[in-house]
Amino acid sequence: MNAGTKFAIGAVLIVGSVGYLMASGIKETGQYFLTPSELAQKVSADPSFYDLGMKVGARVVPGTVEKETATQTLRFHITDGTVSYPVVFRGLPPDTFTDSVEVVVEGRLQRDGVIHATDVLAKCGSRYEAVPKA
């Protein structure tokens, strides 16, 4: 067997393990990224979407944010305009979290209809650029 063939075998091994690592990585750690409407649709079609780790991207409904600093609990509603879900999160929200900000909620929708979040990411549309006030 010449060196080129041996190298090709090594290369196939490396490429194969990269492929395997990626496929298994996506299978084990991939999460659905849904809007509230998509989530409602999925749940009604397939109840196994309850208690499944996922990310939900939506907007915080203004006026629904309740902060309980003592227990570090944050409650708010998120919506995409048509469907809205209540969210419970224990922990420190990011600096950019405010009323009506766009958020990505990572967590599980429980049977009680509440999303129990393990992480809340706030995405401010004008994160680095504020709008000048007249």
Partner: protein, 673 residues
Amino acid sequence: MTLLGNLALWLAFLMGLWGAVTGFAGGLQGRTDLQRSARQAVFAMFAALVVAVICLEVAIFQHDFNVAYVAGRTSRNLPTFYLWSALYSGQEGSLLFWATVLSLFATLAQVLTSARHRAYLPFVAAVTCVVAAFFISVMLFAPANPFARLPYTPVDGAGMNPQLQNPGMVFHPPMLYLGYISITIPFAFAIAALMSKKLDVDWLVAIRKWTLLSWLFLSIGLLIGMWWAYVELGWGGYWAWDPVENVALLPWLTMTAFLHSVMIQEKRGMLKKWNLALILSSWLLSIFGTFITRSGVIASVHSFTQSNVGYFFLGFLLLAVPATFVLYAKRLPLLEAESTLESMVSREASFLFNNLLFLGIAFSVLWGTMFPILSEWVKGTKVTVGPPFFNQVNIPLGLALLALTGIGPLIAWRRASIPNLRRQFAVPATSGVFVLLILLVAGMRDFGALMAIALGGFVMGTVTQEFARGTSARHRQYGEPLALAALRLVGRNRRRYGGYIVHTGMVLLFVAFAGMAFKTETQATLRPGESVTLRSPYGHVYTFTHVSVSQYDALNRRVTAALVEVSRDGKHMGRLKTEKRQHVDALGRNTFEPSTEVGIRSGLREDLYVVLGGLVNGTEQAVYRFTINPLVWWVWAGGYVLVFGGLIVLWPGGGPPAVRRTQAGYAVKLEAK
């Protein structure tokens, strides 16, 4: 000022177009008058862009809030330091900054390139002009014009995002941009070589230093970005596998691969196609990264406001990718290898595997970053992958790469013999096993961390052995004292030993990454006097006691500061301060959301990292997050070592030519061909 700025932009744009036309035409037809004209167009474009930058800075420093860019990014009470960085803290300004730096590099490439490589210069001028003209066209036509005026004049500007008001943020974007932008120069040389069909070893020499330079800038940019994320964002880490971080890492990976595989081409005349493809794709990845960052197609904390700037970049990519590919494909017959692989156990083979691993990492990072979009296209549902995916895939690949870092330098070129291998591997392998045993005895059980540090020991064994052998050889041969011999060894073989210093930096980084496996944290709500304890991975018990809260006004912000007293195993260690800052404008109105200042106590073994979450209903009761981050200090130390090694490799000169030819092994073969 805006009128002059606009004129300068237009002038630069026209110069860019002219330089592109004359450069390509002059290069292809061999007309020296056109070639000279292209060269002068580059200089004129650079001059015009400098005028535009000055205009924008003047507007910023004069607080001309009628200019939308100035009103949107600065305010009267913004510290002077950050007025400078306002130039590139927003979309429009950073485009101007980008174009200007590119034209600076283009100018340097014209001026500094040695006479031997003159034939490439018209094409290099043309390519850099095309790219610069594209960036200027985005400002003029997207439009993202930094000189656009508002219909009214605000009393005060909106101010700069507080998270950008950090020294790291003043240096991080320009460094990253310098890295991103300077890739255009090796790319331009590659295109020049392809177009002029001068694909001998010469173009490699012209390209290698430029690639090394942008690799170094990009490394510094990434490191400062990590530092900024760590001290400013307050989530407790320095790398989050965020899409914007990932796309900045991609060209770094392909360039690192290139800097290794280029040695095989110099020494053995192999891998020509591969090297060229790496350079071309590094540049395409840098434009791709700019597109991802500026278009907002993938949700990221770093995103700029969504705008049609993204479409411009997408359009540019859609033109550049096929154009590059077609040119490359047409020249493939000229890129046949001059020799073949002789043995699996050879330096060449280890470099080839190293390249495959770099590409594997790059591909998986690209795939993971694009996965939300890809899955939506294919299956109609967005599926995202996060840090667990990137860690799961890249930890094994990274460890394999680290192993090769130790193996590569030990194996001879062409074919290594068994006695040779035994002689080479004895010390490094022993040192790796030794480190592993110490860690096991100390009680470390995390597989990834064990492997990372043990392989680190192996690589350090290799590096030390190389230095020791080289030094003692000089000592014997020339009778130099050991210290002088070591210094001369590095000085006369900058590429080789500078490279080993870079490897040392990488080992430190890997050890630091391994430390993050042992991160511990806790959250607590404390009244003054109350405390919480946290056990460090080394077995010490830290006690954090909430001391007091104070509120006061500073320059452009209202500060809520909380004091924490720290003790280790009952022994007093000092106090840490953490703040919540509400930034205000000159009229005292709130601007932006409150931001966090992290309290950090950095040490060789671990960092204490304290974040103030907030106060309970305005009382002195505070919510904290306490984190112990082991070995973070070594990230920055490794970064310094890596940059130092890079500078040694890059430093010009290296003794008179005769010495250089005998010492730098790679140059010998070069001259011989």
